[in-house]
């Protein structure tokens, strides 16, 4: 299978690839699908050539539209020395709509609920086309060190963060569980 964008045009019409089915189901034109692929490939290239410390991301085996990312917990935070896996699902009109980002690794954080959903403005109404995977992941990394306690998804975590750092750290470690390789999405 070859997902290079030139080849999506040339593959046999009777056998749509997973990539193509994804495009077809979302009802986009081929042109935008192409530009999504192109955009994601170039983002990946940038990320690979100058990877920011503690951040890494890569598409899944089946589609360029779904990625897995790995963030290392920032130093001098309760998340120090922990790594977190996230899944990124890109809509077919990316970058005009935000990707759906979830924590796969269980995390105890004021702005993340127990199913991994994240409350972050740039992933919602503040999304902009100039943002990219790298900036999203950097924002998430910094969110780990500086939670937005004004609108917590996890009230208890916000409470502990503000008033009981020791208990917060304990909860973090309790909740954290490294995903095995074969458990990945």
């Amino acid at each position: 299978m070859d997902y290079a964008m030139e080849d999506t045009q040339n593959s046999a019409p009777g056998a749509p690839t997973a990539h193509e089915s994804a495009k077809l189901s979302s009802g986009t034109t081929q042109a935008t699908a192409q530009s999504v692929t192109k955009r994601l490939q170039s983002e990946l290239m940038t990320l690979m050539l100058s990877p920011p410390p503690g951040i890494s991301a890569f598409p899944s085996a089946t589609s360029l539209l779904s990625w897995t990312a790995t963030i290392a917990g920032p130093e001098r935070t309760p998340y120090e020395n922990l790594t977190f896996k996230l899944s990124l699902e890109f809509p077919s009109n990316y970058p005009y709509a935000a990707p759906t980002v979830l924590f796969r690794t269980p995390i105890y954080h004021p702005n993340v609920d127990f199913s991994g959903r994240i409350c972050l403005d740039i992933l919602k109404d503040k999304w902009s086309a100039v943002l990219n995977v790298q900036s999203v992941l950097l924002s998430l990394q910094s969110l780990l060190g500086e939670p937005n306690n004004a609108s917590p998804l996890n009230g208890q975590a916000a409470e502990f963060w503000d008033h009981n750092p020791t208990e917060f750290k304990r909860q973090v470690l309790l909740r954290h569980k490294d995903l095995e390789d074969d458990e990945e999405c």
Partner: protein, 841 residues
């Protein structure tokens, strides 16, 4: 009983009884006695039988052949060879007997026919018993065949003697079937049948062949057997005489028939081939007059000889006289045959002909005649292709040799077959092979770039530059060469053309070479590399390069060569910028450096390794950069330190040296600069640290200076050789040896340096590949970090998915790369899955 015996003996004669004729005293009584008792007339019958018996006896007595062989070398004149009874007139009694037997009017038990066959039996017996063993024994030896022929002639005459006397006696009254000619024919078949199994034919053929080849002056060992007294006759006349003698002898022996004619034909055919080979083997001149010469030779020498030879064989012995006539058609056939022989010879030589093109133009023209024969083309293709792959397309031949030969091949076959079908077929394996060689493009491009006016170059491909200039006026619209609709001489492609056969402009050698490769991009890329290298050389004049680029543009069009165009423009712009910057900073020391400003995107990958320049140079660079930025405000210079050329002036104690060297070399020698008199000595490792330079480069540069007799190596450290040994050691006699050894060592090093690959301005393919792999490595790390361990095929698949440009390497290549990482402990391989080692990356 006796009658039976007589009949038996007349068929199977036994030597014991043969010489003794039936005794007179023993009348025939066997059948007769029965007849006598049956009636009165039987007495008369008995009487007649006895009479016949007597007659038969008298006749056979005269005709019986003595039980004695004629030896080789003996003639009939020898005493005792001919029996006495044959030397004189036949006795009356025998004559009467024979007349009686042969008289057809008498009805008797015996007849002329019977007598004749009795005589045939008689001579067969004699021949088989006495002569044949002699001849066969002789033929086993090496003696000349003429003796056999003479013997046969003698034997023939011997057998003919009594019969011809009888035939003469009988005159016209006799039966025509008793004619001497019948007997001759019988003898001929007897002789030839008896000689079938022997080496007679071979010997005769060899003898005829020797004589004919000597006549045409074709054999090396001629006239060995020439008699002294023949010396005044010139060679060819002598051999001509000899040949005719031999043929006459053959004829005399009665063997001048079809068999000998066949032998003669075979010999002449062989001679034709030999003649062509001997005389024209190395006559390759053009225009070739050989076909005309051959035709002339056939008419003036070959045909007359054949006619004369056949005439010799025309005597009574030959029964097939009609075939001895030489017609016009025969002559034409022989001429064609000669051309064919010439063609076969040329075909055998074809490889050599191609190698020595174009001194062999004439020979190629000869082959062209040959090609008009049926099947000749197919023959040429199979034979020559086979020879090519055996002699040329093998690892022993260098690429430039193959290319050189290919170019000659193209030119030669242009003459041979202007439609180019043959070339197309034959060149296929060559082209396929050339495609596999890595240095093919490089050689072609450097051939194109060589200076055609420079006679001294040894590069066999320099001819390409000449061709390129010649072809400059030919515009090459490739899409349009198929059919010229206005060509009144258009003919369809020959039938042996391959389906993909395309009419190329045949003489277009360069077209052939460039079309070796699937796309012209490969060619252009290589051209770009070599151009880049040449442009960065230290010289002022890029005329040749500009001219070549223009010529190539005619061929390829502008677009593919755009990058090259930019490269050339960079160089000419650089001169202007350089002049401007120098003027701007007039009087300052900036003027001591000049630059070539390259547009990075359009140049092939360049060496960017940096090293620590001497501070003075860094200052100059800074000042120059400032000047440049004034000229082009938005641009910044990035210095490629390793690529520069430096004029170095070295002041040593006894001499000054001025050299144009590469920057790293200059930096290395600069490191040895010292003001005081204390000489500096440094090791390579120290220099590596000091200059922040790659160790290989440092070693290379040190060797360079050692070769120039500027540095000297002692142990592992280098120091400046302030005084040449010759000066330093002049007055010490013992110094001689050490001096010469120093110089010898230096010379050895110098040659070693020259042999080492010069520092190339461009980076090698391997470097680039390694760097690319580095990028892939990042991807692989990213992949394995996020997706966990995975097997090799999946990694390859993911890389293909994720990389914008696709992933060019095969599974195997990637496996090698990954296994290297496993070895260095960055990866681990568990159960077929590659996994990052934690903390290693």
């Amino acid at each position: 009983m006796t009658a039976r015996r007589r009949i038996f003996e007349s068929v199977f004669p036994s030597p014991g009884t043969k010489s003794l004729p039936t005794p007179q005293a023993t009348p025939l009584i066997g059948a007769g006695s029965f007849a006598a008792s049956s009636g009165g007339s039987s007495q008369e019958d008995d009487q007649q039988s006895v009479q016949e018996e007597r007659t038969w006896h008298h006749a056979t007595e005269y005709l019986s052949v003595p039980n004695k062989a004629i030896a080789i070398g003996q003639t009939l004149d020898h005493l005792g060879v001919l029996p006495a009874k044959w030397t004189k007139e036949p006795p009356q009694i025998a004559v009467r007997a024979i007349q009686r037997i042969c008289d057809p009017t008498l009805v008797t038990n015996v007849s002329g026919k019977k007598l004749y066959s009795w005589y045939l039996q008689e001579i067969s017996r004699h021949y088989l018993q006495h002569e044949m063993p002699l001849i066969l024994a002789y033929l086993k030896g090496t003696g000349p065949i003429t003796f056999v022929l003479q013997l046969l002639r003698n034997v023939k005459d011997f057998y003919l003697t009594p019969w011809s006397s009888i035939a003469a006696l009988l005159g016209t009254t006799g039966d025509s079937s008793l004619d001497v000619r019948h007997l001759q024919r019988f003898l001929l078949s007897l002789f030839s049948t008896s000689l079938v199994e022997s080496s007679f034919d071979h010997k005769l053929e060899a003898d005829i062949f020797d004589l004919v080849s000597a006549f045409f002056d074709l054999s090396q060992a001629s006239s060995n057997d020439r008699a002294e007294d023949d010396m005044q006759i010139d060679g060819s006349t002598y051999h001509h005489q000899k040949l005719m003698e031999l043929l006459r002898e053959v004829d005399d022996a009665g063997l001048g028939g079809f068999g000998t004619q066949k032998i003669l034909a075979e010999v002449m055919d062989e001679i034709l081939g030999l003649f062509v080979e001997k005389n024209y083997e190395s006559a390759w001149g053009s225009p070739s007059s050989i076909p005309a010469e051959l035709s002339e030779w056939i008419e003036s020498s070959f045909v007359p000889l054949v006619v004369e030879a056949l005439a010799c064989l025309r005597s009574i012995g030959s029964s097939t006289r009609a075939s001895t006539h030489v017609s016009e058609q025969d002559i034409t056939d022989w001429k064609e045959r000669a051309v064919y022989e010439l063609g076969s010879l040329r075909l055998k030589q074809l490889f050599e002909l191609i190698v020595s093109w174009d001194d062999s133009r004439g020979a190629i023209e000869d082959l062209k005649h040959y090609l008009t024969h049926n099947n000749a083309r197919a023959h040429v293709i199979t034979q020559f292709s086979e020879e090519l792959s055996r002699r040329l397309l093998q690892p022993g031949a260098s690429t430039s040799q193959i290319l050189d030969l290919y170019i000659r091949l193209i030119q030669a076959f242009t003459i041979l077959d202007p439609r180019g079908v043959l070339l197309d077929r034959i060149a296929r394996p060559v082209r396929r092979y050339l495609r596999e060689r890595e240095d093919t493009i490089k050689l072609i491009v450097s051939g194109l770039l060589s200076d055609p006016s420079d006679e001294s170059t040894n590069d066999p491909l320099a001819i390409l530059a000449v061709k390129l200039q010649e072809a400059a006026q030919i515009s090459n619209d490739e899409d349009d060469v198929d059919i010229d609709w206005d060509d009144p001489n258009w003919v369809p492609n020959p039938i042996d053309a391959e389906p993909e056969y395309k009419v190329l402009k045949l003489s277009d050698v360069i077209g052939h070479l460039i079309s070796l490769f699937e796309t012209r991009d490969v060619f252009v890329k290589e051209f770009q590399n070599i151009l880049g290298e040449r442009l960065l050389q230290f010289k002022d004049d890029y005329e040749a390069e500009i001219r070549l680029l223009e010529l190539l543009k005619i061929r390829f069009g502008d677009t593919p060569l755009q990058a090259c165009e930019v490269m050339l423009k960079d160089i000419s712009d650089s001169a202007r910028i350089d002049a401007w910057v120098r003027r701007e900073q007039n009087g300052e020391q900036t003027s001591r450096i000049s630059t070539k400003v390259l547009s990075r995107l359009f140049w092939p990958a360049l060496h960017t390794e940096a090293f620590k320049l001497p501070p003075e140079i860094t200052e100059l660079q800074k000042a120059y950069s400032a000047g440049f930025e004034k000229y082009k405000t938005s641009r910044k210079l990035t210095w490629l330190d390793v690529l520069g050329d430096v004029t170095v002036e070295l002041e040593l104690e006894d001499r000054t040296i001025e050299e144009v060297v590469k920057t790293p070399q200059a930096a290395v020698i600069y490191a040895f600069t010292h003001e005081s008199n204390t000489p500096i000595s440094k090791t390579a490792a120290q220099l590596v640290e000091e200059l922040e330079m790659d160790e290989d480069i440092v070693e290379n540069c040190l060797l360079f200076w050692v070769g120039k007799l500027v540095l000297i190596k002692s142990n592992s450290s280098y120091s400046v050789l302030e005084r040449l040994p010759s000066a330093a050691l002049q007055d010490t006699s013992i110094g001689e040896a050490s001096k010469s050894s120093t110089i010898a060592a230096a010379a050895a090093v110098a040659s070693a340096t020259a042999a080492a690959a010069p520092v190339s301005a461009l980076r090698s393919e391997e470097d680039i590949a390694e760097e690319k792999m580095q990028v892939y490595w990042q991807f692989i790390v990213g992949m394995l970090t996020n997706q966990g361990a995975m097997p090799l095929p999946r990694i390859v698949m993911m890389l293909k998915l994720a990389m914008a440009g696709g992933f060019p390497y095969s599974n195997e290549e990637l496996r090698v790369f990954l296994d290297k990482r496993v070895d260095t402990g960055k990866l681990e391989l568990a159960g077929g899955n590659y996994k990052l080692v934690k903390g290693a990356v």
